[in-house]
Amino acid sequence: MHIGIDVGGTNTDAVLMDGTRVLAGVKESTSEDVTSGIVRAIEQLRAQHAFEGAAVSAVMIGTTHFINALVEARRLAPTAALRLGLPATRALPPLVDWPARLRDAISGRAYLAHGGYEFDGRPISPIDHDELKRHAADMAAHGVRSVAISSVFSPVNHDLEVEAADVIAAELGPDVAISLSHEIGRIGLLERENATIINAALREMAVSIVDGLTAAVRAHGIDAPIFLSQNDGTLMDEDYVRRYPVATFASGPTNSMRGAAATSGLETCAVVDIGGTTSDIGLLVNGFPRETTTEVKVAGIRTNFRMPDVLSLGIGGGSHVDTGSAMVGPHSVGYKLTSEALVFGGNQLTASDLAVAAGRADMGDRSLVAHLDPDLVRRALESIAVRVSEAVDRMRTSAEPIPVVAVGGGSILLPDEIPLFGKVHRPENYAVANAIGASIAQVGGEIDKVFAVEPGRREATLDAVRQEAVDKAIAAGAKPATVSIVDFDEVPIPYLPGNATRIRAKAVGDLDMGV
């Protein structure tokens, strides 16, 4: 058996799983120190379903800790951003588009150095070790504890990033963490560099968080390996998290979506998560969230992380309803639903009141909404169903039919059937879906690079990329026999000669839990 834990901002959910069967599921409030919340959650699991520590083969943890730390600008390490690319790129140095608040929070220092490549792999200028040593001395003098290194076109050739890292490491010693951009982002220098700087700023915290999580699990006599959820839902081991904390950034919505799908028995579906203020809509394809193709802003910083593509509508259980136009949202009473909604004796007509009036939900005092005009109730609820189904339609990538799964407290707003998609699936056990999502034991490997495809060598190049992704998945702990390519993309880059092609391959397999 294995354990899935989701540490959210408010709640810590945990499940004890036997394969895909839920043996026990609990909800605890998240503690300030993270650790004690997890300790209590595991105690609760034990109380529901006794088990020996030795019987647990793996513990999977999803946490929003790192993204919250960035958003709140706390516990970030003094960080330097070093970019190789001179004489190019001088006009826009590293950190140029960061909000001042976050630049200050990481005591950000930007350095430009020679190096980098052209789109076709020719060098822009030779790397200069003396220049790097001078920069390193300045970093040391300013108390830098973490360094992000980027290099122009490093997704094409990353040799110079590695070489510069060796030079900087030799100067600054082993206590300074170094993050390399080619391991974190893709084409688009500023966005990739920003993601790398964020990663660098979180490295110190990653060490203490991982140590804390490990201690909490070990305190229960569980010696099994510990994994953390990544943005796409696959798992990474503790060493990887220490080096790439940014890879956890989107694990919250991802685990929620994957959990919803898993509890509904679906692999490809749209998930509509309706809360108090918004409806968040995402798409799962073969169990993995469809990812954004454009830049993503995190805490006001433009990055090109692979994040699940989530569309938010201003419709939730607490949404205001206009009695004239029957418009729902975007204003909401939010968490004050239980004091401000009509059914709870308040004065604000909310979407939840409509659901009660229509007999779709039973909460508060139904008599307090008996006076509502049935026509208004019908029109407003219909408009919710139409807008949600339009949004789902907007998210899907083709006209193929796709099942819709509705979760969250506000899902009572949806009828049993919605336009375009028909039946709405409502999973049971959803209260701990995030933890179930975290517990899905898959690991993956992804390659995303630009290649100059030589004439007649296309197939060979594509095969080599696929194999590289498979090898990476196996190295991450996948059972070789279960690994397959789940995502493959080949995009010729316009305006460039020499068949420059961006190739992306993702391989995923089941975690080898040694049982």
């Binding site: 190019a88 339609d393 316009p494 460039l496």
Partner: protein
């Protein structure tokens, strides 16, 4: 009246330029960052209306040539903005007094702002297209017989070249090859002209217009009005169609992102044909609008312009059309940028749906010398 372009104008200019880019012209984000940084470093830019330009002013266009994909990775240094101008200047009768945009669509509307700031020169309110087109000879001054040469180009490494070509198509061909060798992102300076010539050959006021379009969209959003309707009003165009993107088909051939998009709406299915820029809109068999008039795709509610690269299934969009500069409708101009040039065997249609009387394809008289065009315009 001359006005001062400061950092607060840059987002409006970039958004307006993305609208006028008609789907092409590259990601305006980097262009906007460059302009903002240059203004913060060197101070704001004076924008001079063409009617205040002295007759003997020396105006030069500054533009980025290359691949937008490269530009987001190998960012410019802005040193390469100065070099081509300095290489070109000794070949001119007098020092350069003003900078201008070659095209108002996309990044080439904001790069000249950065250049003007870095060079400490004023920018003239106008451009050579009034929109975006993919090749450097596709500008109104070509129709007036103006030469792109002497033209200079430079990369960030310090390499500089100067061209003297027999015509503007050769300038495009030779510069394009050099550009690839130099790393696929160079700054070019070209089409030196006098203030008097500028007033005759260029689209006047387009920098102000782009800024006004961008500002109108932003203001409409804040005021809860319809941003698309406001954009249509600013452009004196019309809304063609509203619907949902149901299919996008693209292939990259010969350096151009060619393709089609189908949009389903109440009036049927609109088909857009694009090659970097949107070039033709058809409803069933009926041609609604073609190049050179402007076809633009805006997000249905926010009015945010959508580039051809960012078009995808499911988007709710509105397609709008607006008139191009009248001189683009002369027979010689349609030879250069009409639908026939881009391989669409249809008659040119104006933004309001009427067939273009200037389209003489299929008749004997299809070749007009630039001087004829000049006469026609006068």
């Amino acid at each position: 009246m001359a006005w001062t372009l400061d950092t607060q104008h840059v987002p409006d200019l970039a958004r307006g330029a993305a609208v006028l880019g008609t789907g092409g012209g590259g990601d305006p984000h980097i262009g906007a960052l460059l302009a903002t940084q240059a203004i913060e470093t060197h101070g704001p830019v004076t924008v001079v209306p063409a009617d205040e330009l002295p007759d003997d002013a020396v105006v030069v266009m500054v533009a980025m040539m290359g691949a937008p994909t490269v530009m987001v990775e190998k960012l410019p240094s802005l040193d390469e903005v100065v070099a081509p101008l300095r290489a070109m200047e000794p070949l001119l009768d007098a020092p350069v007094t003003h900078i201008a945009c070659a095209e108002i669509g996309g990044v080439n509307s904001t790069i000249p702002v950065a250049a003007a700031a870095a060079l400490g020169l004023p920018l003239v309110d106008g451009d050579a297209m009034g929109r975006a087109f993919p090749e450097l000879q596709m500008v109104l001054p070509t129709l007036f017989g103006l030469s792109a040469s002497p033209m200079a180009f430079a990369d960030e490494k310090g390499n500089t070249g100067v061209l003297h070509t027999i015509d503007n198509l050769w300038a495009e061909r030779i510069a394009r090859v050099a550009c690839v060798e130099m790393g696929c992102s160079v700054i070019i300076t070209l089409f030196p002209q006098s203030g008097a010539q500028f007033r005759q050959t260029m689209v006047l006021g387009s920098l102000s217009q782009a800024t006004a379009v961008g500002a109108a969209i932003a203001q409409a959003r804040t005021a809860n009005e319809d941003p698309v309707a406001r954009a249509v009003e600013e452009l004196r165009g019309r809304e063609l169609f509203a619907g949902k993107v149901v299919d996008v088909e693209r292939a990259t051939t010969a350096g151009f992102a060619r393709g089609h998009a189908r949009i389903d709406g109440e009036a049927g299915t609109l088909e857009l044909s694009f090659q970097n820029e949107h070039l033709m809109a058809q409803l069933g068999d009926e041609v609604l609008v073609t190049t050179p008039d402007l076809i633009m795709v805006l997000e249905h509610d926010s009015g945010e312009p959508i580039t051809t690269e960012a078009l995808r299934y499911g988007q709710r969009v509105r397609v709008i059309a607006a008139p191009a500069d009248e001189r683009w409708h002369s027979p010689a101009a349609l030879e250069m940028v009409g639908p026939g040039y881009f391989g669409y065997p249809v008659t040119t249609h104006r933004f309001d749906g009427t067939p273009d009387p200037g389209d003489r394809r299929g008749t004997a008289d299809t070749t007009l010398a630039p001087t004829d065009t000049l006469e026609a315009v006068r």
